[in-house]
């Protein structure tokens, strides 16, 4: 699946988007844990999960939402537009 990062999460991960094999992860929260296991960049970026929001296929959802069918998962901090 395509995984996207925005704002300071993008800066900490180091890329805006990448193709990711979710492995055993079936929810957005599990995908975060999986990424953290793979590389310390993700551990730093996702250190405070309470500051992370997620959109699955371009809809904002809760972190425990399923991602098995997802084509695109985006992680970002709380929005600050307007």
């Amino acid at each position: 699946m395509q995984v996207l990062y925005f704002a300071w999460l993008r800066e900490r991960v180091g890329v805006g988007s990448e193709e990711v094999d979710p492995g055993p992860a079936t929810t957005a929260a599990e995908l975060i844990e999986e990424l953290k296991r793979r590389d310390p960049r993700y551990s730093a970026a996702f250190a405070d999960v309470s500051a992370i929001r997620v959109a699955v296929d371009q809809k904002m959802v809760a972190l425990d939402s399923p991602i098995s069918e997802a084509r695109e998962v985006a992680f970002f901090p709380p929005v600050t537009g307007g």
Binding site: L4, F6, A55, Q58, M60, P78, V79, T80, G81, G82
Partner: protein
């Protein structure tokens, strides 16, 4: 014309209001909200604010917020413009327009659109100045403002 525009271009408030109200003689009230870049931040004077967004999602998210406003209030017209990219102090960031027969619907819908836009549309602000650069933190006041309309997120 779509109700929603997202891009780096500035907008003309008077022209947008004229376009929204043209040829509709049953509009009695038009409310506009314009958001501007403020120069002073908690960290110091701002040189530049950069608006990042999620291009694949932004348009649909704003359309959904507009649709919800139209469901809640009898609106003759709605317009939302949000700029992205680098902006300077004093620059316009966002425009929300609502038109209705009476002022109550126009006022409430405009406030609702801003509250939801602030908490549900994928934009992020980065402020840069002599003191350095930092991403803007979300305001708890914005969550509280959005909550007063009742949360219908599934």
């Amino acid at each position: 014309m779509s109700a929603v525009s997202v891009g780096p271009e500035d907008f003309d408030i008077g022209a947008e209001i004229a376009a929204l109200t043209a040829d509709d003689r049953e509009i009695g009230a038009v409310v506009s909200f314009t958001g501007l870049v403020r120069e002073m931040t908690a960290a110091g004077a701002l040189d530049e604010m950069t608006l990042e967004h999620y291009p694949g999602m932004t348009g649909a998210a704003l359309e959904a917020i507009v649709a919800e406003a139209q469901e809640r209030w009898p609106l003759s017209g709605v317009r939302v413009i949000h700029r992205v990219g680098p902006l300077a102090p004093g620059d316009r960031i966002v425009l929300v327009l609502t038109a209705s027969r009476h002022r109550e619907a126009a006022f409430e819908a405009a406030a609702f659109l801003m509250d939801y836009l602030k908490t549900r549309a994928p934009f992020w602000k980065r402020e840069a100045g002599a003191h350095g650069a930092a991403w803007v933190d979300a305001r708890e006041a914005d969550d509280a403002a959005a909550a007063r309309w009742g949360d219908d997120r599934s």
